[in-house]
């Protein structure tokens, strides 16, 4: 799954939903692979308003990518900044989490990722 997916997922445990610590999930022992995807600047510009930038900064740092700026660029800034477009494209659209775990910062539950597919089914005592 693409790294961008982490911006749309959270812990499946009901009682974690109200905690801000359950988002984003934290990758652990992540094995990353890279896909070749053609750069689509319009996609990145249209994505900006719906990305949780703070969560993305956390994810990016935890996966060992260069630190993102504290504030998201404006649409105009992003359109004009080829390097930023390329960096975001690589991180969000090309990088996939293939193996590893996703850890909830609230309850500590670890969701396994195998062959690119995360498993969010909960053990019976957490349902």
């Amino acid at each position: 799954m693409k790294v961008l997916t982490l911006n749309f997922l959270t812990c499946a445990v009901k009682s974690c939903k109200s905690s801000s610590d359950s988002f984003p999930l934290h990758p652990k022992d992540a094995e990353l692979v890279s896909d070749d995807v053609n750069l689509n600047p319009q996609l990145l510009v249209n994505l900006l308003p719906r990305i949780d930038w703070n969560a993305l900064r956390t994810t990016s740092t935890e996966l060992g990518f260069p630190q993102l700026p504290e504030q998201p660029p404006s649409a105009e800034e992003l359109e004009a900044d080829e390097k930023m477009l390329k960096d975001l494209h690589t991180l969000l659209m090309e990088t996939q989490i293939n193996e590893g775990k996703l850890v909830c910062g609230h309850c500590g539950h670890e969701y396994a990722v195998r062959e690119g597919i995360a498993n969010f089914l909960l053990p019976s005592h957490l349902v």
């Binding site: 799954m1 499946a12 070749d36 995807v37 249209n46 996939q96 597919i117 995360a118 498993n119 969010f120």
Partner: protein
């Protein structure tokens, strides 16, 4: 007519095979009225368009599509591969969540194959081609597939289009989760089961996986009711859902209940596609659920 994604690689002994319900979803989602509705709902301004003064309003943010229970992946692949034809924009993100891991694997492959074909058969292209946004071609982007229980792992109020072809067949009871889906991390047999999961399944396990795809419990509505109840929490402000119902689900009552939901309302629910019409009874129908 947009081509139907190929699912010849899908193991139908344990993943639901595309059938009349799947094809009704494809027909409905690609009908002129739904294409018009979706492009109004998620307006986009192609970046390559020469912009005459005054400048057009900015594009709406990239839509996120979630299919719950994609099974073979035929519907999600259709939506992803034909994103531009259906949404009049190609910056569309898609995500599939299925309780059956085999369905997750199958869906990822069905989408990848359909995207490659839609992009002109260039095998090196794994999504997101270079065709100009004014072209009617143009695939969206699959975020991935994940194993999960309905939308329980999806961050609240993010989904713009939810698609659900539910287990709608009335059954005496809901099937219990097959043991291999249990995911109990403190189980001593976990390693052995993990090995088994990716290799072989028994006939009983396969039957149990298939049962999850069709058995709907009372009125065939037990799983669907859970998804309907979750709509206010799952859908974004501009979000909508396409839900498949069969006649035994008592669709008119279901629509009435949705229109009466207070949380996040007022809600609208209308039938936007139907098949198997017999004496005024639509055997299957697609209900669009949204807010104005």
């Amino acid at each position: 007519m947009l081509p139907t994604p190929s699912t010849s690689h899908v193991p139908y002994e344990r993943v639901y095979e595309p059938a009349e319900d799947s094809f009704l979803l494809l027909d409905t989602l690609s009908s002129p009225s739904e294409i018009a509705f979706l492009s109004r709902r998620f307006p986009s301004v192609p970046s390559t368009q020469k912009q005459p003064p005054p400048p057009p309003p900015p594009s709406s943010p990239t839509p996120l599509i979630l299919e719950i229970g994609p099974g073979s992946g035929v519907v999600l692949a259709f939506l992803t591969a034909h994103a531009h034809a259906l949404f009049a924009r190609r910056d569309v993100l898609t995500l599939g969540i299925d309780i059956n891991r085999f369905a997750c694997v199958a869906t990822a492959q069905t989408v990848a194959t359909a995207v490659t074909e839609a992009e002109g058969g260039n095998a090196s292209e794994s999504g997101g081609g270079s065709s100009s946004s004014s072209s009617n071609k143009g695939a969206g982007y699959l975020l991935g597939t994940a194993q999960g229980n309905l939308a329980s792992a999806v961050r609240p109020r993010q989904v713009d289009v939810l698609v659900f072809n539910p287990p709608y067949v009335p059954t005496a009871e809901l099937p219990s989760l097959p043991r291999q889906l249990g995911n109990d991390s403190d189980d001593d047999n976990k390693v052995a089961r993990e090995e088994k999961k990716t290799t072989t399944t028994t006939y009983e396990e396969d039957s149990a996986l298939l049962a999850l795809s069709y058995a709907g419990g009372r009125d065939g509505m037990e799983i669907t009711e859970r998804v309907i109840a979750a709509l206010p929490a799952v859908l974004s402000d501009r979000g909508l859902a396409y839900l498949l119902l069969c006649a035994q689900n008592k669709p008119d009552e279901v629509k009435g209940r949705i229109r009466g939901m207070e949380e996040g309302g007022p809600w609208r629910a209308e039938t936007v596609g139907a098949s198997g019409r017999q004496a005024g009874w639509e055997k299957l129908q697609i209900v669009r659920i949204w807010r104005e």
